[in-house]
């Protein structure tokens, strides 16, 4: 009795700052890490407005205003990397959503125990590193030793294809590899939503003689709409970012494919570590960060309008 009173009392009354010292100590390592990893690099953004000179360092290098950006956008690269980043992400959003929703609907209705097996198997690629994925793709597409050239095309009497030299195939390959990798993950999100729907709707519909297809169209899909909208908006918030491993490792950094595999992330990486072109790389990176920031803010605003509980802030 007295304890309950005390609890209520302590909640109302302000606790002394001393009481919170242990909590600040608990928070400290994380705060320090985020400072080092996320805040300390921020001043380095000025590099995008400078002509980098390694001898003078970031701060000693000369200011050049927006000329790095002018130079970046004067090249064809800026167009190509923006087009590829946006184009692939849009394709991923459509393809991944259609497949994940479809598979989730099929799994939700499945009675047999084997559904757990299917679910585990399609989640496996999500846990594999992109380096290993690039090996798997290589086993199929290698020009000399690949399965497709040596077993499939040969038996069909077709000429071998130099896969890593032919840009035309790669949009499809990358979309399929990406789908393969993330399907299991996305599917779980939709499946858990479907399993939370009220079974009563389906029983009522079945009683009225609705077919399976009608139930999916009239009940499942409309109920899923908010989840799909939310996932899509969150993906749009990240539309200026790409999976570096997918676009760098899987095509094996092949120069012949850059026109269809170069994204903002791979461009920034190559600029920095292969070409040593710090300033253009920094400019492209800042372009990505700023547009990405605006997109996250805008999409979150929309999410908050639709469903406050799902918004990030």
């Amino acid at each position: 009795m007295s304890m309950a009173k005390q609890t209520a009392g302590s909640r109302k009354g302000k606790k002394p700052l001393r009481h919170f010292i242990p909590f600040y100590l608990m928070a400290l390592p994380g705060i320090v890490y985020l400072f080092i990893n996320n805040y300390m690099p921020l001043p380095g953004i000025v590099l995008a407005f400078k002509k980098y000179n390694a001898r003078l360092g970031i701060w000693g290098s000369h200011w050049v205003g927006f000329s790095n950006f002018k130079f970046l956008f004067a090249t064809n690269d800026a167009f190509v990397i923006t087009r590829n980043t946006l184009g692939y992400n849009l394709a991923f959003i459509v393809v991944n959503t259609v497949f994940a929703v479809g598979v989730a609907i099929l799994l939700a209705d499945m009675r047999h125990r084997i559904k757990r097996f299917y679910q585990s198997v399609i989640l496996l690629p999500y846990m594999i590193s992109m380096v290993i994925v690039s090996y798997l793709v290589f086993a199929f597409l290698s020009t000399e030793n690949g399965f497709i050239n040596n077993s499939v095309l040969l038996h069909l009497g077709m000429e071998p294809v130099a896969w890593y030299m032919e840009p035309a195939f790669w949009p499809l390959i990358l979309i399929l590899v990406n789908l393969w990798k993330v399907l299991g993950y996305n599917c779980i999100v939709y499946l858990s939503a479907i399993l939370s729907f009220d079974k009563g709707y389906y029983e009522a519909a079945a009683m009225d003689g609705a077919t399976k297809w009608q139930q999916i169209r009239m009940i499942t899909l409309p109920l899923l709409k908010p989840v799909v909208t939310m996932m899509t908006l969150l993906a749009i918030g990240r539309i200026f970012y790409s999976d570096f491993g997918l676009f760098y490792q899987v095509p094996q950094n092949s120069g012949a494919l850059f026109s269809v595999t170069n994204t903002i992330d791979t461009y920034v990486y190559r600029g920095l570590l292969e070409l040593g072109d710090f300033t253009l790389s920094a400019a492209a990176g800042l372009y990505q960060s700023v547009v990405g920031f605006i997109l996250v803010l805008v999409t979150n605003l929309l999410v908050r309008k639709l469903d406050p509980a799902s918004s990030l802030f």
Binding site: A27, P29, P41, F140, A282
Partner: protein, 300 residues
Amino acid sequence: MTMLTKEDRIYQCVSHVVMMILSLNVIIPMALLVISSFTDNDTLIRNGYAFFPENLSIYAYQYIFRTGNAVLRAYGVSLLLTAVGTALSLAVTIPLAYALSRPGLPAKRLLTFYVFFTVLFNGSLVPTYMNYTNVIGIKNSFWALLIPGLVTNGFYILLAKSYFSASVPGEILEAAEIDGASACQTFLRIAIPLAKPIVTTVGLFAAIGYWNDWQNGYIYLTKRADLYSIQNLLNRMIQNIQYLSQNVSNIRDADVGLAAIPSVSIRMAMAVVGILPILVLYPFLQSNFAKGITLGGVKG
């Protein structure tokens, strides 16, 4: 009334066919990888990677383990990195999330925003690279594998924070404190056991992140190939198959030289070695991982 109608049966049938195709899409590439790693190298050169090779051989694995101090070393690095990284990640993420979840914490909004801002905006690769290279100075050290980007992130922290707020009853924590438990004891003995699902989830994400990471080594280890993780070694080998034999520091057997390298099969054998821990632990990983994704809900 549980009799299946004809339509239901067709629907179930089609579902199973679709799911089997999708499952085979995962199993077949894995099978090609494993079978190729056990195929005789000359057969591979003649016929390419195939599901039913003429001659099997375990030579690629023998080669790895005979000359493989590079491989074993990289394996050791990966194991150490994953163990240390996961522990570090939990030690940094969970206490911060717990602190942010405590009601009445002064400057809580400011601290939460401090965490949240890192989700919204990042300085991108160049400033981050310059920071770790020139200011922190961890290039070409084990720290370079451990620290950049992987320890924690705003998303994990906020996910764990909302779990503590929503699923760990404040009354229990307050009662413990009134009973004389220190803040630390309350956290370790009461809050963490109650938050086990989120602790497992964050630990699992961190462990997979560390085991699979190749970027840190690729970016920061320019001169220290001896610190390569298994992913870095694999990455190096797909670019340059001779790399392994060049890097063998002490070739003890004269016959295991550059000429004897089973260049085609060893790639796949290395990939199998790299994927093995994930496959072995998969039953444990997948059930917890699935729970974790559901926990993260749409925000995942």
